[in-house]
C-alpha cells in the first residue's frame, strides 16, 4: 500500500519504537514504573509530545497553550461517556474533533502574530479556558471537583442495549472492558498509529513546506506566498493530537479536571519537547517519558528508599549521602527537574537526542557511522 | 596593469616602506557559515587615505566591520596592527579606545537620544577627541539642533552627526562606510567639503564608497575587492586612469 510507504530508515525507527513501546511492561520493571497508571501516562503524553512537535518542531511556532486542547479532549470524552456510551471509539473521535475545532478557532486568531506574541496569545487563550472551566463553566466541567461519571447519566446508546449495572460503568472497547493493561495496550496502539502518521507528515511535501516556514518566514511572505494556511493546518493537527491524548486520559481514568489546562501543563509539554530534542521524531517522546518518570517515581522516593540504595556505604558516610540525596528526590524532585533542564540546555542545546548523536559520533560503530553519513546526505530526514 | 599582476602572483600587495601605520594581513571573516572576507591584506601609511572599492557584495562593508572588530562578521584568521597594537585581539570597544573609529553605512544614529546625547555618548569612554564646542564650531547645523532627537534629522544632517560623533573620539584611523549613500547631490557636496577638511587634518582614513569616482578623488591609494579577495592594490590615480580596470571590477 502506498500509504504505508516510508523511507527505510524511518521504517526501522518505527519498528524499533513499536517494540520498545509494546514491551514496556517488561523493561520498565527494573525502574519501578511498570504499573498501568504510569505506563498509560507514558504513552499518552508521548502522543501529546509527538503532536506538539509537528507544530513546534516543524514550523517553529511555540505554542504555550497546548494543554487547553488536552483538557478539551478530556471533557469531550467524559461527556461522550456520560451522554452516549462507555465505548472508547466515539469518545476518541469526539475528542479529536473537538481538539481540532478549538485549535482551529484559537489558531486562526493567534497565527495573526508570530514570535513571542504568538506564544502569549496561545497562553492567554489557554488560561482563559482554564479559568472559565474552573469557575463559570462549572455546569459543563464540574469545576474544581473535576467532571466525573455518575450512575444516573443518560448514556443513550448503552441504554438501548441493556440496563445499567449497580455500580459505575467503566470505559470499554467494543464490549470489552478497558482496565489497567487493556487500556495501556489500547493507548500504545494509538501511539504507534499517531507516531506513524507524524513520520509521514515529516517526510511529506506538506512537512517540507512547514520546515520552510520555520527557516524563513519573511522570505516566503515576500515572495507573495501565504504561509498561514500551512501553519494553521499544523496547529490544528497538533491540536487534534492533543485532543486525542486528552480523550485517552479520560479513557484510562474517566475524570476530567481543569488543572490539565493550566499554563504549567502547557509549559510541561514545551519542556518535554525541548528536553528530548525539538524536530526529531523520538526526542519529544523521550522527553515526555523522562518528565513523567521523574514526576511519578522520583517524587515517591523517600529516605527509606535512599537508605537501602546507599546501604553499601559506611554508616557515617551513608547518613550524609542520604541527607544530601534526599533533597533531590521526594518533594525535592522539582529540584532535580530544574537541574536536568539547565544541564541539558547548557550542554546539549539540541536536547537529549543531541547527546545521543554526539555519543554516536564519539564511538562510531560501523552501522552508526553509515547512518551518520546518510544523515549528512539527507539532513531533513527525521531522526 | 603591473600592479594587478603583482597581486595575482603573490596574493598580497607589497609595501615598500618600513613598518606601516596600519597593517591588515590575510584576514578571513565569516557571517555564521558564510565565508565573506577571504584573505584580505593591505597597508596604510600615516595620514594616507585609502579607497576600498568593489562591486556590491565584494566584501567591502564586511572588511570595514572586521577592522572595527564588530562581532559580525567574526574574524577567524589573520592579523590587524594599528601603530604597533594588535587590533585583531580586541573587541569593538577596545578597538575604538585604541583609536579606530567606524562611521557605519546607515549612520546608526541612536534612537531616543538627542543630537547632543549622541555626541556626549562618544566621550563617555576613555579616548575622547574634539569637545562639543569645537564640534559645534565645525558643524553649526548640529549646534542648532542639539536638543532635537538625532533620528529626526535629515539624511545629510545624520551623516554629519555620524562624522561629528566619530570626531568626538580620538581618531587614529577613520573608517568611512558609504558616506554619500542616499544623499542628494547638494548634500553630497557638503559632505565632500567636510571630508576634505578631515583630509587636511591628516587623519588616516579608509573609505568605502559606491561612488568610486568621488572616493578616488579624495583618496591617495585604492584597493579593489572582488568576492572577498584583493583584486587590485595601487594608487588612486591609476584606477581613475585605467578604464579597463574600472570596467572589470567596478562596472563603471
Amino acid at each position: 500500500m502506498d500509504f504505508l510507504r516510508l523511507p527505510k530508515k524511518d521504517l526501522i525507527t518505527f519498528a524499533v519504537f513499536s517494540v520498545v513501546v509494546l514491551t514496556m511492561p517488561i523493561w520498565l520493571q527494573p525502574f519501578g514504573a511498570a504499573y498501568p497508571g504510569l505506563m498509560q501516562k507514558f504513552v499518552i503524553f508521548a502522543i501529546l509530545a509527538v503532536g506538539f512537535n509537528i507544530l513546534f518542531g516543524l514550523t517553529g511556532y511555540l505554542s504555550f497553550g497546548h494543554a487547553a486542547f488536552l483538557g478539551v479532549g478530556s471533557y469531550t470524552a467524559v461527556w461522550s461517556f456520560k451522554l452516549l456510551t462507555m465505548d472508547a471509539i466515539p469518545a476518541l473521535i469526539f475528542a479529536v474533533v473537538m481538539g481540532g475545532v478549538f485549535a482551529l478557532a484559537i489558531g486562526y486568531v493567534s497565527l495573526r502574530r508570530s514570535g513571542i506574541y504568538f506564544s502569549i496569545l496561545t497562553l492567554a487563550f489557554a488560561q482563559m479556558s482554564y479559568n472559565l472551566a474552573y469557575s463559570v463553566l462549572t455546569p459543563i466541567t464540574n469545576g474544581e471537583t473535576a467532571l466525573q461519571l455518575a450512575r444516573t447519566d443518560p448514556r443513550i446508546i448503552d441504554g438501548l442495549f441493556g440496563e445499567a449495572g449497580a455500580g459505575l460503568p467503566s470505559p470499554s472497547l467494543l464490549g470489552a472492558n478497558l482496565n489497567g493493561f487493556e487500556a495501556f495496550y489500547l493507548c500504545a496502539v494509538v501511539l504507534l498509529v499517531s507516531f506513524f502518521i507524524a513520520q509521514k507528515i515529516f517526510v511529506s511535501p506538506f512537512g517540507m513546506m512547514l520546515r520552510a516556514i520555520k527557516s524563513n518566514q519573511t522570505r516566503m511572505s515576500y515572495t507573495g506566498f501565504n504561509t498561514r494556511p500551512y501553519a494553521l493546518a499544523a496547529f490544528v493537527i497538533s491540536g487534534m493530537y492533543a485532543g486525542l491524548a486528552g480523550g485517552l486520559l479520560a479513557i484510562t481514568d474517566p475524570l476530567a479536571g481543569a488543572e490539565r489546562m493550566q499554563w504549567t501543563a502547557s509549559g510541561e509539554i514545551v519542556l518535554m519537547t525541548i528536553l528530548g530534542g525539538v524536530g526529531t521524531m523520538i526526542g519529544p517522546v523521550i522527553g515526555a517519558w523522562l518528565i513523567k518518570y521523574l514526576e511519578n517515581i522520583f517524587s515517591a522516593f523517600n529516605e527509606g528508599t535512599l537508605h537501602r540504595v546507599f546501604s553499601f556505604l559506611p554508616d557515617g558516610v551513608e547518613e550524609w549521602v542520604v541527607l544530601i540525596a534526599s533533597k533531590f528526590v521526594g518533594e525535592g524532585w522539582h529540584l532535580t527537574l530544574g537541574l536536568v533542564f539547565m544541564l541539558v540546555v547548557i550542554f546539549l542545546p539540541g536536547g537529549i537526542m543531541e547527546g545521543v548523536r554526539r555519543l554516536r559520533a564519539a564511538f562510531p560503530s560501523g552501522s552508526s557511522a553509515r547512518r551518520n553519513r546518510r544523515n549528512e546526505l539527507n539532513p531533513s530526514a527525521a531522526e | 596593469m603591473s600592479a594587478l599582476e603583482k597581486v595575482n602572483e603573490e596574493g598580497v600587495s607589497i609595501s615598500t616602506e618600513a613598518t606601516p601605520f596600519f597593517a591588515v594581513s590575510d584576514i578571513h571573516a565569516y557571517y555564521g557559515e558564510s565565508y565573506i572576507v577571504q584573505g584580505v591584506s593591505f597597508d596604510i601609511q600615516h595620514s594616507e587615505i585609502l579607497a576600498l572599492l568593489g562591486r556590491n557584495g565584494a566584501g567591502k562593508t564586511s572588511t570595514l566591520r572586521t577592522l572595527a572588530r564588530l562581532d559580525n562578521p567574526s574574524l577567524q584568521k589573520g592579523e590587524i596592527w594599528l601603530d604597533g597594537m594588535p587590533v585583531h585581539r580586541m573587541r569593538a570597544f577596545e578597538a575604538s579606545r585604541a583609536g579606530i573609529q567606524l562611521v557605519p553605512e546607515d549612520r546608526r544614529i541612536i534612537q531616543g537620544l538627542t543630537v547632543e546625547e549622541n555626541l556626549t555618548l562618544a566621550q563617555v569612554a576613555p579616548g575622547g577627541g574634539w569637545d562639543l564646542d569645537r564640534i559645534y564650531g565645525h558643524f553649526p547645523r548640529l549646534a542648532e539642533r542639539r536638543r532635537q532627537e538625532g533620528t529626526t534629522l535629515s539624511g545629510g544632517e545624520q551623516q554629519m552627526l555620524a562624522i561629528a560623533r566619530a570626531l568626538a573620539r580620538d581618531i587614529k584611523l577613520l573608517l568611512l562606510d558609504e558616506p554619500y549613500e542616499g544623499l542628494a547631490p547638494v548634500i553630497v557636496q557638503e559632505i565632500e567639503g567636510i571630508l576634505q577638511e578631515i583630509k587636511q587634518l591628516g587623519i588616516t582614513t579608509v573609505i568605502v564608497e559606491q561612488n568610486a569616482v568621488a572616493a578616488l578623488k579624495l583618496a591617495d591609494r585604492a584597493v579593489i575587492l572582488d568576492t572577498g579577495e584583493v583584486a587590485y592594490s595601487g594608487s588612486a590615480q591609476e584606477v581613475l586612469d585605467n578604464a579597463e580596470l574600472r570596467h572589470e571590477y567596478l562596472a563603471i
Binding site: L62, V109, R112, R113, S114, G115, I116, Y117, I120, L121, L123, A124, F125, Q127, M128, N131, L132, Y134, S135, V136, Q217, W263, T264, L271, I274, V278, E331, G332, H334, L335, G338, V340, F341, M342, V345, I346, P349 | A68, L70, D71, R91, A92, F93, S96, R97, Q101, P104, R108, I110, Q111, G112, L113, E117, T120, L121, A122, V124, A125, G127, R169
Partner: protein, 342 residues
C-alpha cells in the same frame, strides 16, 4: 461613586505591583535581549530577604523549664528573643519595622544575586535562541524556588505590617469626601507610593544620568555603542543587578500583603510576562502603563456589578485584554517594530 473610587485605588495598588515586576523584566529584556523566566524567582528571593532578616532578628534562645509543663504535659520551652537582648528597646522597634528595614539588606543581596546570575549563566545565552533562554531560566527558576523550599519549607511566612501602618486610612476624608466613605489599607497605600517612587527613580536614573544614557543607547543600538568605545556588556551586567534589585524590593514590600512562600515567583511569572508583552517587549513606559492598566481592569472586573453582567470576567480579564490589545496593536501598547517577532 465611593465604591468606584475605592476600586480604583485597589487597581492602582495592584497595578503598582505588576508594573514594578514588569519593569525589571523589561530592563533585562531591553538591555540584554534575554527572556528571563527566572524574574519571578527574583521577586520571591526579595521577599525571602525580608523573611530571612526577620527570622534573624527574631531568633530566640530556648531553654527548657523542667518545673513547668506545656498544655500536653511535656516540659515547657521558654523562648527569649535575641534582638531584645542585644539592642534593648531598639530591638523591638527593629522587629516591628523588619520589613522596611530589610530593604537595606535586600539591595546589596539582590544586586549580588543579579550580577552573579548574569555573569554565571545568562551571559552564555545571549546568542542562543529565545526558546533556550526561556528553558534555562525556567530551570533556574525551579532550582531557586526549590532551594528556598529546602531552607524555608513549603509554608508561607507571614510578615507583619509595622504597627504605625496597620489598619486603614480614610482616603475619602483626605480628598474632601465624607469620613469613612473611602478607606484603604495604609500599607497598600505605602506600597503604591513605594512602587511609584521606585518606577520614578528608575526612569530618572535612565533619563538624567550618563550611565542611564549609555544604557538607553545600548538598548537602542548595542553595536554602535560598542563602536564608541563603551564596554556595554559590563554596564548591562550592572543593569541586570539593578533589575534584580527592583524585583527584590517589590518582593520585600509585598510580604505584609501576602505571606511569601517558595512558589510566589511562579504565581507572578505568567502575569508579569503578559504585562510586558501587552506593554510591548522592551518598552519601559509600555510595561508601566500595561501594569497599571491591567491592575485597574482586574480590580474593576471583580466588582459584583461587572461580574453579574459578564460572569467569570474577573478570572479572565487580564488574558482577554492581552488578546484584544495584541490583535489590535500587533506589538503591544508601545512596542518597537521587529522585536521578538522572529
Amino acid at each position: 461613586m465611593d465604591a468606584i473610587l475605592a476600586q480604583l485605588l485597589n487597581g492602582l495598588d495592584k497595578g503598582g505591583a505588576y508594573a514594578l515586576i514588569a519593569l525589571g523584566l523589561t530592563l533585562v529584556f531591553g538591555t540584554l535581549g534575554v527572556v528571563n523566566f527566572a524574574h519571578g524567582a527574583l521577586f520571591m528571593l526579595g521577599a525571602f530577604c525580608a523573611v530571612a532578616f526577620r527570622a534573624f532578628i527574631t531568633m530566640e534562645t530556648v531553654t527548657i523549664d523542667e518545673t513547668q509543663l506545656s498544655p500536653w504535659g511535656s516540659p515547657l520551652e521558654v523562648r527569649t528573643p535575641m534582638a531584645e537582648q542585644w539592642f534593648g528597646e531598639w530591638g523591638a522597634v527593629m522587629v516591628d519595622y523588619s520589613v522596611p528595614i530589610s530593604i537595606l539588606v535586600a539591595i546589596p543581596v539582590m544586586l549580588l544575586i543579579g550580577i552573579a546570575m548574569e555573569r554565571g549563566l545568562i551571559k552564555h545565552f545571549y546568542k542562543r535562541t529565545h526558546a533556550e533562554q526561556i528553558l534555562v531560566t525556567f530551570g533556574l527558576a525551579i532550582v531557586l524556588q526549590e532551594l528556598v523550599k529546602t531552607f524555608f519549607g513549603p509554608n508561607p511566612w507571614p510578615q507583619p505590617v509595622p504597627a504605625d501602618f496597620r489598619g486603614a486610612a480614610d482616603v475619602g476624608a483626605w480628598i474632601g469626601l465624607q469620613a469613612g466613605a473611602v478607606t484603604y489599607p495604609l500599607w497598600r497605600l505605602v506600597y503604591l507610593l513605594f512602587s511609584v517612587v521606585v518606577i520614578g527613580a528608575v526612569f530618572a536614573f535612565l533619563r538624567f544620568t550618563t550611565f542611564g544614557m549609555v544604557v538607553r543607547a545600548g538598548m537602542a543600538d548595542r553595536e554602535t555603542v560598542g563602536l564608541l568605545g563603551i564596554n556595554i556588556d559590563r554596564r548591562f551586567t550592572i543593569m541586570f543587578g539593578i533589575a534584580a534589585v527592583v524585583a527584590g524590593l517589590a518582593g520585600v514590600m509585598y510580604t505584609p500583603l501576602l505571606p511569601p512562600n517558595y512558589h510566589l515567583g511562579m504565581d507572578f511569572l505568567v502575569l508579569s510576562f503578559v504585562v510586558v508583552v501587552v506593554g510591548g517587549m522592551g518598552s519601559l513606559p509600555g510595561a508601566v502603563a500595561a501594569g497599571f492598566l491591567l491592575g485597574i481592569l482586574q480590580s474593576f472586573a471583580s466588582m459584583t456589578q461587572v461580574k453579574a453582567l459578564i460572569p467569570g470576567i474577573d478570572q479572565i480579564i487580564i488574558y482577554l485584554v492581552a488578546v484584544i490589545i495584541l490583535l489590535v496593536m500587533p506589538r503591544g501598547l508601545l512596542g518597537r517594530r521587529g522585536v521578538m517577532e522572529g
